[in-house]
């Protein structure tokens, strides 16, 4: 027989929420911090029986993603589930609890000369949060995103059911790939308790080649030249300030062993030299460029927008956005993967007509991007603004199927209700 929430509270596993315990302005009543999968299961089962709506939180670095939840009665933090369970260095595999911070995991892997090839920009992110929010960074160009690196998962469903899928071997097609289903599911299907990943050798050397760009056409040309070459860059990043902010900078990151990096950097500089002024950065410049690589172009109180288009459509997307309100923002892009982020102050929330106008601008940008097969997500905004627009945009023709998946995994909508695509 299982516990009630009150029982768990007496046992110290659940505590009353404080003033700071809220999700996107939605206050919580209770907070639980389980330290194991079994405890997480007991908490969720008790919450399910009590009809409490649950929001799972990792490092809290991406809590602003999605719509504000309809309710957040119980916050379940994975903070105490932070152990690296198994690092099989010879197999290039690690199994880790979801609440472990990605940075701590990387530190634990570094002595073996290995890393989990994910470099999302949000500081303090946990492994579980990276999986749940499908967070990615510049090096996705070379290594893919979390879906490409996760090989196993342990989850707890809304009713407390514990289940795992995948395993700890890199190659494995036994059963459905639930690991991928949970990537980007934003806590709406279950609590991610543990994950297993394939690892990569940590590159021994790096070089950065830069190209000053003034026109969007240069961006497109430079990226195409790189993509059609035999170079294997880790990242191709663009800093862009729109038509009003002056010239932009394209940075090509090359990593590997020293002789290979040197040769590739020289080739890249040659290719980019045909488009504009290219430069292979020296050691100091390289270090500085790498340290600010992929930094989000928005501050905490600002509006953050993520655009995703097929890579060759990026110059077009820059043009679409550049002519309007969004063009006043700071822009940064993973230029060869087609991901563009825009940070800006947003409308004055005290002025309804400004809010409405901003929602109109987002709609218009979505329509233009749809013609390029792209999408626009409002990745960060004050809750009041979020309520005035649709942060996810049109969900496509698979939305009913997504709702069916949600109904199977969480029939009573216990988990982060309303936060996800299509009101899921």
């Amino acid at each position: 027989m299982a516990a009630t929430l009150e029982g768990l509270e007496r046992g110290g596993l659940v505590r009353p929420a404080g003033g700071a315990d809220a999700v996107d302005g939605v206050p919580a009543e209770l907070v639980a911090e389980p330290s194991s999968v079994a405890e997480a299961s007991r908490v969720l089962a008790a919450a399910c029986r009590a009809g409490k709506k649950v929001v799972v939180v990792g490092g809290g670095s991406k809590l602003g993603l999605g719509n504000p939840p309809e309710r957040a009665d119980l916050i379940v933090s994975t903070r105490r589930m932070d152990r690296v369970l198994e690092h099989a260095a010879g197999d290039l595999v690690v199994r880790v609890q979801a609440g472990a911070r990605l940075a701590d995991l990387q530190d634990a892997l570094a002595p073996a000369g290995q890393w989990l090839a994910l470099d999302p920009p949000e500081p303090g992110a946990t492994v579980g949060g990276v999986v749940a929010a499908n967070a990615s960074g510049p090096r996705r160009l070379r290594y893919g995103t979390v879906r490409d690196l996760i090989i196993g998962i342990t989850v707890v469903l809304a009713d407390g059911t514990m289940a795992r899928a995948g395993g700890k071997v890199v190659k494995n097609v036994a059963g459905y790939d639930l690991s991928k289903l949970f990537c980007g599911s934003l806590g709406t299907l279950g609590l991610i308790a543990e994950a297993t990943f394939r690892l990569h050798p940590r590159p021994a050397a790096a070089a950065v080649v830069t190209l000053g760009v003034e026109r969007v056409e240069q961006v497109g040309e430079a990226v195409q030249r790189l993509l059609r070459s035999t170079l294997v860059p880790s990242a191709i990043e663009l800093d862009w300030h729109g038509p009003y902010g002056g010239p932009g900078l394209l940075s090509v990151v090359i990593e590997g062993i020293p002789p290979g990096v040197e040769a590739q950097a020289a080739t890249a500089a040659g290719l980019l030299g045909e488009v504009g002024e290219a430069e292979v950065l020296g050691p100091g410049g390289t270090e500085a460029a790498l340290s600010r690589l992929g930094v989000l172009p928005w501050e905490k109180a600002e509006v953050g927008i993520k655009v995703a288009v097929p890579p060759a459509e990026l110059p077009g997307a820059l043009t679409d956005l550049g002519s309007g309100w969004l063009g006043h923002g700071r822009m940064a892009a993973h230029a060869a993967t087609g991901v563009l982020r825009v940070g800006l102050a947003g409308p004055d929330l005290g002025q309804p007509e400004q809010v409405e106008a901003f929602a109109g601008v987002v709609d218009k940008a979505r329509a233009a991007l749809a013609a390029r097969l792209g999408t626009l997500v409002v990745a960060q905004a004050p809750p009041a603004l979020k309520r005035a627009l649709d942060v996810w945009g049109p969900p496509g023709d698979a939305v009913e199927l997504m709702r069916r998946v949600k109904r199977q995994f969480d029939p009573d909508r216990q988990l982060s209700p309303g936060r996800f695509v299509g009101g899921i």
Binding site: M1, A2, A3, G7, L8, R49, A88, G90, D91, N134, G144, T145, R147, L157, D159, G160, T161, A163, R164, A165, G167, V169, K171, N172, V173, A174, G175, Y176, D177, L181, G184, S185, H200, A204, L227, R228, S229, T230, V232, G256, P259, G260, E262, A263, Q264, A308, P310, P311, E313, V339, R372, G393, D397, L401, V405, Q408, F409, P411, V421, G422
Partner: protein, 484 residues
């Protein structure tokens, strides 16, 4: 709806030339690449467009008839095994490459397009499609999607699932949906990721968007001979520990070499107990440097001879020996049973010894040819079906080998799929709750269980019931009891 009515409806959709209903013709489709299991389907339909697939599936749905999709029929787990009272939907006539978009490094293809056809179509532009199952000359992209096919080079480049960015899918009720596309990070659940590798149980892919890769600047291949598999396994560990990610590392033992030699004359070194094929690719300077290191590490591990492919022709010969090994085993044994277990790479020597011991106990021979870099074993259990009791012993041995893989935390299948063949082993790898939760996905896509029924899972889940085995006890519900 009776069979005749269904046949009439199919004929309306695809024309008479797209419907097969004569028993002797149906027999052509009674099995896939795994001939141990044979079932003659009720009807075979060969649609030519996505709309026809949709209408065929809708007809099955309305008639309450199960259906199975089939591509080229090269699968090795009975995943495309028909059901006797059901329809087989053969996608072989949907063989058009619809779009090649090199600016975005994508190709959009129909499901019947052959794997190698994609690479050939973009080769002149310096691109290729990375997943390369040994059957790539004949296997279809739709089948690759269903099975999440791998191949020798997935050590570095990943599997089908890492190279599909979009799908158009006909769901089991006949609805058409689009999952993913050419742009990254589409908002919503990654249903595409869940669909790839679902072995035809969630619907039929009618259009597939593939990622194309630029051909590497340099490719270097060597074949290193060793006294035995222990030494070869040691070389593999050393290469990985050095931080090198080869495009492929393949191993063959003496028996597999004997078979391949008889078939394609690779000239394996006399007396070698194992060979490794190691291939590196990438930018020239990096490949040259690391290739020299691989050579050194192989020598350190005790390699007796190292042959370096002098040109594309010799490289092709190395690979021909490897890729034809399954079929070649037919030359040294009348029958054989293929397994596809996976182990952590570091457990290779231990598991190979165990396989040899198990084989010895049963008086059977096992040829090993496998993807050593990612620990994906393909033990070929040799037997003679005409000798009383040998087939049973071979099956037993094959099962024991899978259990040995699972003991090491491995998997029962790395690339062939569970299909019909290995579904009884799923409860050995996963717990009841794991399997129940997986089937929640099935219930969302196919609540009536009519899409490739009887595959992957040993027991189907009835959909519509509350998920998970937990039930609230009445006493508990009344708030009368609690237990920590």
């Amino acid at each position: 709806m009776d069979r005749d009515a269904l046949i009439r409806r199919f004929t309306d959709v695809v024309g008479a030339h797209g419907v097969i209903s004569e028993r002797n013709q149906l027999r052509t489709y009674e099995c896939d690449g795994l001939a141990n299991f044979r079932v003659i389907p009720s009807v075979v339909v060969l649609p030519e467009t996505a709309e026809q697939v949709r209408q065929v599936v809708r007809a099955c749905h309305e008639a309450g008839v199960p259906f199975v999709a089939r591509g080229s029929g090269t699968g090795l787990s009975g995943g495309a095994l028909p059901v006797s009272d059901g329809v087989l939907v053969v996608l072989a006539r949907m063989r058009d490459i619809l779009e090649i978009d090199l600016d975005n490094q994508r190709a959009v293809v129909e499901p019947g397009v052959l794997n190698l056809q994609v690479s050939k179509a973009v080769a002149a532009d310096g691109f290729y499609y990375a997943p390369d199952p040994s059957s790539q000359q004949v296997c279809s992209i739709g089948g690759n999607v269903a099975e999440n096919s791998g191949g020798a080079h997935c050590l570095k480049y990943g599997f089908t699932t890492n190279h599909v960015t979009g799908l158009e899918v006909v769901l089991p009720d006949g609805d058409l949906v689009h999952l993913g596309g050419k742009a990254p990070d589409p908002p919503g659940y990654d249903l595409m990721g869940a669909f790839v590798g679902s072995e035809g149980t969630l619907g039929i892919a009618t259009k597939v968007t593939l990622r194309l890769l630029r051909k590497p600047e340099a490719v270097r291949t060597l074949m290193a001979a060793f006294e035995g598999t222990d030494h070869a396994g040691d070389a593999v560990s050393k290469i990985i520990a050095a931080g090198i990610v080869p495009a492929a590392i393949e191993m063959m033992d003496a028996l597999a070499m004997e078979a391949a030699e008889a078939a394609v004359h690779v000239h394996y070194p006399e007396g070698a107990g194992a060979v490794l094929i190691v291939e590196l690719d990438g930018p020239e300077a990096e490949v040259e440097h690391q290739f020299a290191e691989v050579e050194r590490l192989c020598q350190e591990a005790g390699s007796t001879t190292i042959q370096i492919a002098a040109d594309d022709e010799q490289r092709a010969l190395f690979w021909k020996g490897r890729k034809s090994a399954f079929a070649a085993v037919g030359r040294i044994s009348p029958d054989y049973y293929v397994q596809d277990g996976v182990i952590p790479r570091t457990a290779l020597p231990e598991v190979l010894r165990k396989i040899a011991d198990l084989a010895g106990e049963r008086g059977l021979r096992v040829a090993n040819v496998f993807h050593a870099g990612d620990g994906n074993l393909h033990p070929l259990v040799l037997y003679d079906g005409t000798v009383e009791g040998q087939e049973e012993r071979a099956e037993e041995l094959a099962a024991e080998i899978l259990y040995a893989c699972l003991e090491q935390g491995g998997s029962i299948t790395g690339e062939h799929g569970v299909g019909f063949d290995k579904k009884q082993y799923m409860p050995k790898q996963f717990g009841d709750e794991d399997l129940q939760v997986m089937q929640l996905l099935r219930c969302a896509f196919d609540p009536e269980g009519r899409c490739n029924p009887g595959k992957v899972f040993p027991t189907p889940r009835l959909c519509g019931e509350a998920p998970g085995p937990r039930r609230v006890h009445p006493v508990e519900a009344a708030g009368l009891a609690e237990v920590f």
